[in-house]
């Protein structure tokens, strides 16, 4: 089949970033085609129904990083987006009543007071300090990364960053350095004494990373999760009504309304080039499309090694992309439940179930979970982040029934026996998760009507996440900012002319943020590449 129309831009991959990019470009009057391999849009942000009436947020399950300016620019509320904040953070315990952190000061103070009065008194200050650091970092998330190695061309950006750094003052600057390099536990140790408080707080430092709570640099990841905001209200995570897929659908609807053409079940096989410049794509089914620019919304390795081909790239760049690390470490178990689980430490259907629930009884527990994984096995007693969205959003389960989403760490892509061994270990992994949960809510097992187990291998196969990494490459310091995906190519452009990157493998990285997609589109338009 030959191309009939020539597009301004083809976007490869219908994840939320691809969709955001498409919506912005189409909104600026460009002729845009978006191609998605699967039958549904959203990538890692999808709602799937495996048992009639039960809607799983298959991968991504809570949202907060989604940039408010994107919600506003694309009028996502008009296109059906509605985000319901989580009620609290609940950490069940095997002995004692567990801990619930509420948005309300007095209630949280009371809860933490049972562990430590000092910690309770100090807790609000911690949020304030993180907020302050967040205010410093946040602007970096909505602008291309300043690159200090590109002086003097980018002198202005680097200097303004430097000025802002100095404005933090000595103590603020020290805190900044600590946040960027310390472990989550080091950071929290400065503030709090209670292990039972620190453990659930430290979890934010490891989500999506292959690091432990005691690994240096996890403090930054913790901050990254603290920066979440919904519509400008800070530090709030929420569910999208209708499941996470509703976010993708809202963005897709906004893109279509702006004139973007979207094709599903259109798997790209090759990005074609002519004299070092991208000119279009070839699909697995043989269809071909041409455009002035091709924008990949897939991760860097897939983009360069599968779509473009090593032979089109110079050795140094190939080496850099080869070194770019993925190493997925998370799995997901989605459950359809006949009835609401009952936590023995806090029985009954309280509001505490309407938040996120962390199985993180101690720092040591979390660190041991990591230790097992780093030696090539999934954690026998993993860290689990649970949510029961059906309590807040009844549209995702039949009346009286529930869906439960369990995000699980660690599930290393590289098992000691190799990634392929996941096919044999999938059910054992699912069992481990259910058994761990059963300890906290006896009777859960009997309530399970259906279970979906996603190993890192499944994330790779099904959702196109290379090595199962949920962020398109580790969010480690050496892969952030001007080094994402590699130094010199952090501004969405690539060594192939007219080939751009717009997804989580580009600055500022993964999570349901939409920033890479928006920034890529902005650069294309503002600098007249398109």
């Amino acid at each position: 089949m030959t191309a009939t129309t020539r597009y301004d831009a083809i976007i490869v991959g219908g994840g939320h970033n691809g969709l955001v990019c498409a919506a912005y470009l189409a909104g600026a009057g460009r002729k845009v085609l978006l191609l998605e391999r699967r039958h549904l849009l959203g990538g890692a942000a999808v709602t799937e129904e495996h048992l009639a009436g039960f809607k799983y947020s298959a991968c991504s399950y809570v949202v907060s990083l989604l940039r408010p300016e994107i919600i506003h620019d694309l009028e996502l509320a008009k296109h059906g987006l509605s985000i319901i904040p989580l009620a609290c953070s609940f950490t069940p315990d095997l002995s004692g009543p567990g801990l619930v952190r509420w948005p309300d000061f007095a209630r949280t103070h009371d809860e933490i007071s049972r562990l430590s009065r000092r910690d309770a008194d100090r807790y609000p200050e911690f949020g304030k300090a993180m907020g302050k650091m967040g205010d410093f970092i946040r602007p970096l998330l909505m602008q291309p990364a300043p690159d200090p190695t590109r002086l003097p061309r980018r002198l202005g950006e680097s200097l303004s960053l430097l000025r802002r750094l100095r404005k933090l003052g000595p103590r603020g600057l020290a805190q900044f350095v600590q946040l960027m390099t310390q472990s989550a536990v080091d950071l929290l140790d400065r503030w709090f004494e209670s292990d039972r408080l620190k453990a659930p707080m430290a979890c934010s430092g490891i989500i999506g990373t292959f690091l432990g709570v005691r690994s240096p640099t996890t403090a930054y990841v913790l901050l990254h999760h603290y920066m979440g905001e919904i519509d400008g209200a800070y530090r709030a995570w929420g569910f999208a009504r209708g499941g996470t897929g509703a976010i993708s659908e809202a963005i897709a609807s906004a893109a279509r309304a702006r004139g973007a053409e979207i094709l599903c079940e259109a798997a790209v096989e090759k990005i074609t080039t002519r004299r070092g410049s991208a000119r279009g794509v070839v699909l697995e089914d043989g269809r071909e499309f041409e455009a002035r620019v091709v924008i990949s919304a897939c991760d860097p390795r897939r983009t360069f090694f599968s779509f473009v081909g090593r032979d089109q790239l110079d050795d140094d760049f190939v080496a850099q992309i080869t070194r770019y690390r993925y190493r997925g470490s998370s799995g997901k178990v989605n459950l359809a439940l006949d009835r609401l689980p009952d936590f023995s430490c806090r029985p009954g259907r309280g509001l505490h179930l309407q938040g996120d629930i962390a199985i993180a009884p101690s720092i040591d527990y979390l660190e041991r979970a990591y230790d097992e994984a780093k030696h090539g096995a999934f954690s026998r007693r993993p860290y689990i982040n649970l949510v029961i969205p059906s309590l807040t959003d009844p549209t995702v389960a039949p009346p009286g029934k529930h869906v439960m989403s369990a995000f699980v760490q660690y599930a290393p892509y590289q098992l000691a026996e190799g990634p392929a061994a996941w096919d044999q270990q999938r059910e054992a992994f699912g069992d481990t998760v259910v058994e761990t949960l059963e300890e906290y809510c006896p009777g859960l097992k009997d309530a399970i009507l259906h279970r979906q187990v996603l190993t890192p291998l499944d994330l790779e196969r099904e959702y196109g996440l290379t090595e199962g990494n949920i962020f398109h490459g580790e969010l480690s310091l050496e892969q952030l900012l001007f080094m994402r995906p590699t130094m010199g190519w952090a501004r969405y452009q690539t060594p192939i002319q007219n080939l751009w990157l717009c997804a989580s493998g580009a600055h500022p990285g993964g999570g349901l943020m939409g920033a890479p997609g928006a920034l890529c589109a902005r650069r294309l338009l503002e600098e007249h590449y398109l």
Partner: protein
């Protein structure tokens, strides 16, 4: 009234005191232990045999420092043996006992180390830049660092920026196949760190270790001997066997120290080379320091995890080929090393994995009285923090076991042994946790953060009090650099 009291007569204290004396100042040194030398001082292992309790080798001994104290020494580049016949030879810039790809990759690594050397030394040989200070001086200093960084060229800069936050394991896995080589490099790089090879930011430790070692190694005793001689030459007054119990202030500046025997020494300034938290929180009333600084110091991490073991052998340790070993770093592979760290981290009592590094000295090293013919092996055993419950005898046995894998005859030659636990080091040297370098050399405790952002220029936030121990920049290599830079700061303030 004298000019300066120096607290501590370790390598830093002696370096600083000698420099100050050479500049014509009246200096007095106070040392709590009965002998000079701090952690480098030799103390008896058994009849007739001596070895340092703490530090046995120093790296990064720079010509400018030797000049400053007026001594001559030539660092050497001994071969570093690992398991499985792997030998790193920095003098020849190559590695033996690995396949050609690894050998070539090692040469590339040495090349990278050579390229980044000047930037490292630019940073290590000078006081840290104060990022919040203004004025042309700090701008100039920053510009010079910036220039050194530019001179690296794009690729070396990329490697450095990328390596800095990386786990050492990833850095090594990208380059090498040989497990023995990776184990050796990691064991050597992390010898004093409470971190595993999979901990982020440890790649930088290897780069630093290689830069430092490429500049040569000096047995600690030899450096110490020369320093003591130089101190004698300048008729430095030294008081041993008495502790400083407090630093005194008159409201605006330091006025001297009070000793544990009640005596007071009046001085215009005080230079402390002991652990920074010890200095600022124990020797000084809380009233004199900003409350926030005390909070920050409380969070200073200096949990030691490296114990010491010294062996006296009738015959030298030899490798398979029968050659006497000099330096060695034993860890078969990264996963073994990581497990050793895990066991330490979780304070397990088992001793399944051991990571050992060490150096063998012959009599020239000055480890025995005349007439004794023997060899002394100084060893570091990693990841046995003081709160880890391990049986000392079991530990010794495990070390002997590990060493007999290299030299089967070890047991027959062993004449004496001395074990020094982290707790004993912490106690004996006021190390506050037992960390050799007075504070974990993690990224957040280096450069302008060492020991705290407000006192990284060697000046405590109290007039007349200076900090020049390893808890100050660069705090690496046990070479007296921190003392020397502190002495420079004091001279500049006069």
């Amino acid at each position: 009234m004298i000019d300066v009291v120096v607290i501590g007569a370790g390598i830093n204290g002696l370096t600083a005191a000698t420099m100050l004396a050479r500049a014509g100042l009246a200096v007095e040194v106070v040392e709590a232990r009965p002998v000079l030398g701090g952690m480098a001082a030799r103390e008896p292992i058994a009849d007739g045999y001596l070895a340092p309790v703490g530090i046995y080798e120093t790296t990064g001994v720079r010509p400018w420092m030797l000049n400053a104290v007026g001594i001559a020494l030539s660092p050497e580049l001994p071969r570093l043996h690992g398991s499985g016949g792997v030998v790193v030879d920095l003098a020849q810039r190559r590695v033996e006992g690995v396949d050609p790809t690894d050998a070539a990759a090692f040469e590339d690594l040495v090349e990278l180390v050579t390229r980044i050397g000047p930037l490292f030394w630019r940073l290590m040989d000078h006081p840290p830049i104060d990022p919040v200070a203004s004025g042309w001086r700090s701008l100039w200093a920053a510009a010079r660092v910036g220039l050194s960084a530019r001179r690296l060229g794009f690729e070396a800069l990329r490697e450095l920026l990328r390596a800095a936050p990386m786990p050492l394991a990833d850095f090594l896995d990208e380059r090498f196949e040989s497990n023995a080589l990776k184990g050796l490099l990691a064991a050597e790089a992390l010898k004093y760190r409470f971190a595993g090879a999979k901990s982020p930011t440890t790649a930088l430790d290897l780069l630093a270790a290689l830069v430092y070692q490429s500049a040569g190694i000096v047995p600690a005793c030899r450096l110490l001997e020369r320093l003591v001689a130089a101190a004698k030459h300048h008729e430095l007054r030294v008081r041993c066997g008495v502790r400083v119990s407090s630093v005194n202030f008159d409201g605006s500046r330091a006025t001297g120290v009070t000793l544990s025997d009640g005596m007071r020494i009046e001085a215009r300034s005080v230079l402390s080379t002991v652990h920074p938290r010890q200095t600022l929180c124990e020797l000084i009333s809380p009233r004199y320091l900003p409350a926030a600084l005390r909070d920050d110091l409380r969070a200073w991490r200096s949990q030691g995890s490296t114990a010491r073991l010294d062996l006296v052998l009738a015959q030298p340790l030899r490798d398979n080929a029968g050659r006497p070993l000099s330096r060695f770093a034993l860890s078969d592979n990264l996963s073994e090393l990581e497990r050793a760290y895990d066991q330490g981290k979780h304070r397990q009592s088992t001793l399944e994995q051991l990571v050992l590094t060490g150096q063998q000295f012959d009599l020239d090293g000055g480890f025995a009285d005349r007439g004794h013919d023997a060899h002394v092996v100084c060893l570091t055993v990693q990841h046995v923090p003081s709160d880890r419950v391990v049986d000392e005898n079991a530990l010794r046995a495990a070390v002997r076991q590990r060493l007999s894998a290299i030299d089967a005859n070890l047991a027959q030659h062993l004449r004496a042994e001395r074990f020094t636990s982290v707790a004993a080091l912490a106690q004996g040297f006021a190390l506050d946790g037992g960390q050799f370098e007075h504070g974990e050399l993690s990224l957040d405790q280096q450069y302008f953060m060492r020991p705290q952002i407000r006192c990284a220029s060697y000046r405590a936030p109290l007039r007349g009090l200076y900090l020049g121990g390893n808890g100050s920049h660069p705090g690496r290599g046990f070479n007296g650099a921190a003392g020397a830079l502190a002495a420079n700061a004091m001279l500049a303030d006069r």
